[in-house]
């Protein structure tokens, strides 16, 4: 795949097997989330996973994108993600009992190889959530993912969720983006 002389990052072209494998990984991940297969979803993560979602403010262009990496809605490790997933398996995780009905849409997938068996994957997401009497909660934004191949499987090593909303239009984030 990569030769020592190769300058990184290398774009992984749409239509290649390498690209298709990554897109299929994202689709399968989305299906797991929508089906509530959270234990299996956790298996997709490396032990050093960083899962984060910074706060965002509306700022003038000279101030940059308005993301604040030092504070956010998620700052997770494998241990804390395990806690979140195990919590959903208890009998009293009321925010998800009854369960939310979510739909994760993933598109605009672009892949760069940034190391041997390491990929940076950016994608646009739209997530809808419906629960109880609430009509749609709506989340849109960009995911910046790092996927790493461990033995034969691709695993998620980092996910940065860059939400478009500055005010979260949902009473809680008991789902994963």
């Amino acid at each position: 795949m990569s030769s020592p002389a190769e300058a990184l990052p290398v774009p992984v072209r749409v239509g290649t097997n390498e690209y298709s494998e990554i897109v299929e990984w994202l689709y399968r991940e989305a299906r797991m989330l929508d089906n509530g297969e959270f234990a299996a979803w956790l298996e997709l993560m490396t032990n050093d996973i960083v899962y984060e979602m910074p706060t965002r403010t509306s700022v003038m262009p000279k101030e940059g994108s308005g993301f604040h990496p030092e504070f956010g809605f998620f700052a997770e490790s494998h241990s804390s993600m395990t806690l979140r997933v195990k919590r959903l398996g208890t009998s009293q995780a009321w925010a998800e009992q009854p369960r939310s009905r979510t739909r994760h849409f993933v598109s605009n997938v672009l892949v760069d190889r940034v190391g041997e068996h390491v990929y940076k994957v950016t994608s646009a997401f739209m997530v809808t959530r419906i629960r109880s009497h609430r009509h749609y909660d709506f989340f849109t934004g960009e995911r910046v993912d790092v996927l790493r191949r461990e033995s034969t499987n691709l695993k998620l090593a980092r996910r940065t969720i860059l939400l478009d909303q500055t005010v979260l239009e949902a009473h809680n984030l008991s789902i994963f983006l």
Binding site: M53, P54, T55, T57, S58, V59, M60, E63, G66, H68, E70, F71, G72, F73, F74, A75, E76, S77, S79, S80, T82, L83, R84, K86, R87, T90, S91, Q92, A93, W94, A95, E96, S132, H133, R134, T166, V167, L168, E169, A170, H171, N172, L173, S174
Partner: protein, 449 residues
């Protein structure tokens, strides 16, 4: 301030129900109507929010001259700007010409404030500096001194927390907070440099009445073992369902309320669990009585009347980390009879180490805020309570606030105000609702007799 016509009892709602019957402090009953009534929402805005002191920002959010933050004061957009003299001033965020919103980002930096509509400019102190085509105005038609930015009527801060009010008659902030200052020092005034905000606040919208949030933050410890049963199941809270009952409920004065609760008998849970290297600072910044209190306790939650709450607690955000403290301030900003915008600031002592800052952030974000494994479930509850209590049938029945309200005030408690031994109880909630009712009924509730 009354919305009714002259001659009509200002405390009668349209259907002739009297405000005095909505909260019965003697019988510890609260009407469900207070959480879901458009007419009461308007009265709250008129009689409470446009007349009382409200939290706006922390001074560390605008550290340098020219820094500004856009906020909301009783439903009106305001901007706080730090001047070249380092003083923070607050204004209605509105040009005097057409009322255009001036500072349109959530925060930023300006040398002058320029209205994008017709180009009027203002100084950081609110003076009108220039208008477009000034020569086209007849002499005396452009009185710059009369066209300053509209200031927030009173603006003041306590221990870095900036408050404002539109009420010229309101007492000073220090008087308004009164005895609550003694307790706020335990969170905000304990270290040499005070506190600062990490990043920017989380902001989110909830379909709940703001008073369900304050009700929970007046000292409700006894929801823990049902609402947060998932955490008990995971083994991250003591199995003893009375574990948070061994402290005190406190009513410093005038609807400001809190609880203080000791942790398990382990030095880890003293001083709210703060890093032990900060203890000498606590000792020199706090009075002996305050220092003794902070030594005793691991947990404290409360509310500065009406809608600024705080949370100084220790939690485990994952299976490996020890119980780790965080200090969080909340504003429950009503946006309608049954909707609230929540603002949540994480504060840290400026002297804390980088490692502690990381640990306190992770502890907070994993457990509280909209994604927190505790608070997810609180938010679900407050929306469901609000939804049900809209019902006209439901509203025929009052709500029950009678736990441990028979216990007398504890004369041994060393802090100011009234305190009750036993931190499961509803005395602080009733104190909050009684104050809410007073503000809605009294012509000048800030005047104490």
């Amino acid at each position: 301030m009354n919305t009714n016509s002259p001659g009509i009892d200002p405390n009668l709602l349209r259907d002739r129900v009297n405000l005095k019957d909505l909260v019965n402090a003697e019988r510890h009953e609260v009407s469900r109507r207070v959480y879901a009534d458009p007419e009461l929402y308007e009265w709250e805005q008129d009689r409470l929010f446009r007349r009382t002191w409200l939290f706006l920002a922390h001074e560390s959010e605008l550290p340098k001259p020219g820094d500004y933050v856009s906020r909301d004061l009783a439903g009106e957009p305001v901007v706080l700007i730090r001047g070249d003299d380092l003083k923070i001033r607050g204004f209605l965020n509105s040009c005097r010409h057409r009322g255009m919103r001036l500072c349109r980002a959530d925060h930023g930096h300006v040398s002058i404030v320029r209205c994008q509509y017709h180009g009027w400019t203002y100084s950081k102190t609110g003076a009108l500096l220039s208008v477009f085509a000034k020569d086209l105005y007849e002499a005396d038609r452009l009185r710059k001194e009369e066209l300053r930015l509209i200031p927030i009527t009173q603006l003041d801060s306590y221990r870095g927390m900036i408050f404002g009010t539109w009420n010229a008659d309101a007492p000073s902030l220090a008087d308004y907070l009164g005895n609550m200052r003694f307790y706020l020092d335990l969170y905000l005034g304990r270290t040499d440099g005070g506190t600062e905000v990490i990043g920017t606040p989380q902001v989110w919208d909830v379909a709940a009445n703001w008073k369900f949030a304050t009700d929970n933050f007046t000292g409700d410890n006894f929801h823990l073992y049902s609402t947060h049963g998932s955490i008990i199941e995971l083994g991250l809270l003591p199995p003893d369902p009375m574990s948070l009952s061994y402290g005190h409920l406190v009513h410093p004065q005038d609807g400001h309320v809190l609880h203080v609760v000791p942790g398990p008998p382990d030095p880890l849970f003293e001083y709210f669990g703060l890093p032990k290297e900060l203890v000498p600072q606590l000792e020199r910044n706090l009075s002996p009585v305050q220092f003794e209190l902070i030594r005793r306790y691991g947990f404290s939650v409360g509310t500065v009347f009406p809608n600024l709450s705080f949370l100084q607690v220790m939690v485990q955000g994952d299976f490996e980390a020890p119980p780790t403290p965080f200090l969080n301030f909340r504003q429950w900003q009503p946006t309608g009879p049954t909707s609230t915008r929540v603002w949540s600031w994480l504060l840290v002592d400026k002297e804390a180490s980088p490692e502690y800052r990381k640990a306190t952030y992770e502890a907070y974000v994993r457990t509280f805020g909209p994604s927190g494994v505790f608070e997810q479930d609180d938010l679900e509850n407050w929306e469901e309570c609000t939804r049900v209590n809209k019902g006209k049938i439901a509203q025929q029945y009052t709500l029950h606030h009678q736990m441990n309200v028979h216990v007398p005030v504890d004369p041994e408690f060393p802090g100011p105000g009234k305190a009750w031994k036993g931190s499961y109880g509803e005395s602080t909630q009733i104190a909050f609702y009684a104050e809410w009712q007073r503000w809605l009924m009294q012509p000048k509730p800030w005047v104490r007799t």
